[in-house]
Symmetry: none
Subunit: 204 residues, 4 copies
DNA sequence: ATCTAAGCGAGACGGTACGTCCTGTCTTCGA
DNA sequence: TCGAAGACAGGACGTACCGTCTCGCTTAGAT
């Protein structure tokens, strides 16, 4: 009954055409107005082929998004944690929080509200890796003494990413780069270590 | 000519039945699976009547949500800004970020991603008033010297609300009350005024 | 669950448009190539409306056929049973056994081979009434002594109609009017009464 | 260029398995519900192999039918034309007009209504030989003076076969053997030669 | 005895129609 | 005369088969 298809025999051409068509249509018409039928027509692919490999429209667009942003968000390690966070989050801001893909990303997140599988995959394949990378970077900084030894890195990441998604999803207007940098510096600063020797008392 | 209906002659009974049916169905089946047809059937109301007074399903549910949570969010002012933030945000946490209404709220926010009117009304009637109230409370604290004179209250509110919505909408698990309080204290602390004299080193 | 629709509120316009579109398409393209989608599109009617009132394409076309031929096949009674049979069967020949409707009729009969409901309705509403009329006419003739008193009118009707349907459905070429009349005369003759007084022996 | 396949290298095993599967499925589920996919699956044969050797499902089933009934229809010649017709038509009745194969046969005839090639092959390979055999037998009888010299043997065959197909295809209930024999005797009798001297009135 | 070209099973593919569902509009009928 | 009931046009859904196609594999005839 209903065996899964044989992935080895999958047509890479149809695969890529579908992803490209899905992303193009989302950018042109908005995620919500895109239909599986339209994706199939644009890609020159049959609906059956789409349903063979993806359960829903959301899954297609999610994969397209992952392909789009997957590579662009590696964390650098220059030694300066605040600078590295700025570098990475600026890339995220440019890639998916502004420009034509922002609405597509928001659309997928919206869809995930009533699609558990999509929510899980969104988390597992797009979000969680970046969250983990950020946490790792912060843990590294903590080990090097650049953050307080008891700094809660999970909370720190929430404070860094939370406001960005909040503004994306509640239509509050995305941060400019400057605002983003201010935010990052403030959060990193909040987790800075208490200096070992207190600063000399103000002689005034 | 499509004149607007005469609001004076509106049947309050149908109005309330519709809101109640919408909220009940959302809680039972999830926002995404609810249809206008089902709301009409459950409320014993005709579809026409629903479309006469609301443009979309989202608008109905938004109104139901506003009715539900609209009253519960006055900001206290006890003089202790951190305590007041905790009080108010804990109420929000309990009302819409956890429990059966959380998914409904998330569903409306999701719908707003591809419905500009709904997005506008969500912001104007539900979100913006609470954001403004929070900002006002923080401005008051700033004026009283409980926050740094240059504290960016907009950023502060983003840092308080952002992580909560982020965790709601990205399926990351909502904060416990303790976690929420930790978050609030950290953010308020980050905006605390720089003390004129540095704190004495811990004598222990 | 799935109550039947209210026939009183049926749109007669859509009803007639559907029947007309179905028959037109069948004549143009052949019964087998007609789809419910095409009927709906041609009639300017939604598929839902078609499925609300008919279970299958075959049912639509059957109703169209019934409307087409229902009126044209009354039996006359001139007193001459052979002449009356010729009159009626010639009308049938002209209406549904030749010309553009023949293939449509054959298509419906074909469909009825794997659609029990259609088969039943075809019999009950199209065929059986005409068969009964023919039998009645023959019974009348029998009572008047124009046929043998023990004439099997059911068999007689089979012998009259059978060959016609046989040639229609097995692609054997339909009878000309002359052939049909020969057939009728032969069959009626086979059921003629044995003369009370035998013919005088040929004096030759 | 689509060369025809090399029949010498055809797998007889696949050939027979396909025919058997087709007939089995038709008997089990009815001709109309059988699909090429199902035949392929049941036969353990690929769809490609079926389409290599037959153009359509109908062609497969027709071949299966021919294999089934092809042998059983030689006309006897005992000298008694009515008896010989009874013998042969009873065999037809038993083989394809009743029992599990009747519906399959009807299904193929139905399909032929919108498949010219199938119609042609059905006629040429199944029907026409039997019709010709019947005509030949009647011609022989005519030559021997058992039928009137001007007897129209084509019409006679129509009168013999027509009612049988008519009852098969219009769901009118097949004849019993007795009814069939009555029919045959009546038809043959209608074509009997006019006696030179009229029969003497029954002296009883 | 190998080579090689075909048939073969498997099954993915583009395509078409299916029959269902929901939307948002429009009509009817009963209170 | 208003509103519930619900029929309507429209359009996307996800499914089922169609007939084509591309894979490896066997398999038999020709080398």
């Amino acid at each position: 009954m209903n065996r899964p298809p044989n992935a080895q025999r999958r047509s890479e051409k149809s695969h890529q055409a579908t992803l490209a068509a899905a992303m193009d249509l989302c950018v042109e018409q908005g995620y919500g107005k895109v239909t599986v039928e339209a994706i199939a027509a644009r890609a020159g692919v049959s609906k059956k082929t789409i349903y063979r490999w993806w359960p829903t429209k959301g899954a297609v667009v999610l994969e397209a998004l992952i392909a789009l942003v997957g590579k662009a968000t590696q964390f650098p390690d220059t030694g300066d944690v605040a600078a590295d966070m700025r570098t990475q989050m600026t890339a995220v801001l440019d890639n998916v929080m502004t420009g034509p893909h922002a609405a597509v990303y928001a659309g997928v997140i919206a869809e995930a509200q009533h699609d558990e599988t999509l929510a899980h995959n969104l988390l597992a394949h797009l979000l969680q890796p970046r969250i983990e990378a950020a946490r790792d970077r912060l843990r590294l900084a903590r080990e090097k003494g650049q953050l307080a030894p008891d700094a809660d890195v999970e909370l720190a990441v929430d404070l860094l990413y939370g406001p960005v998604y909040y503004r994306l999803l509640l239509n509050l207007g995305m941060y400019s780069r400057e605002q983003l940098h201010t935010l990052i510096d403030l959060v990193i600063g909040a987790f800075a270590p208490v200096p070992a020797t207190p600063p000399a008392p103000d002689p005034g």
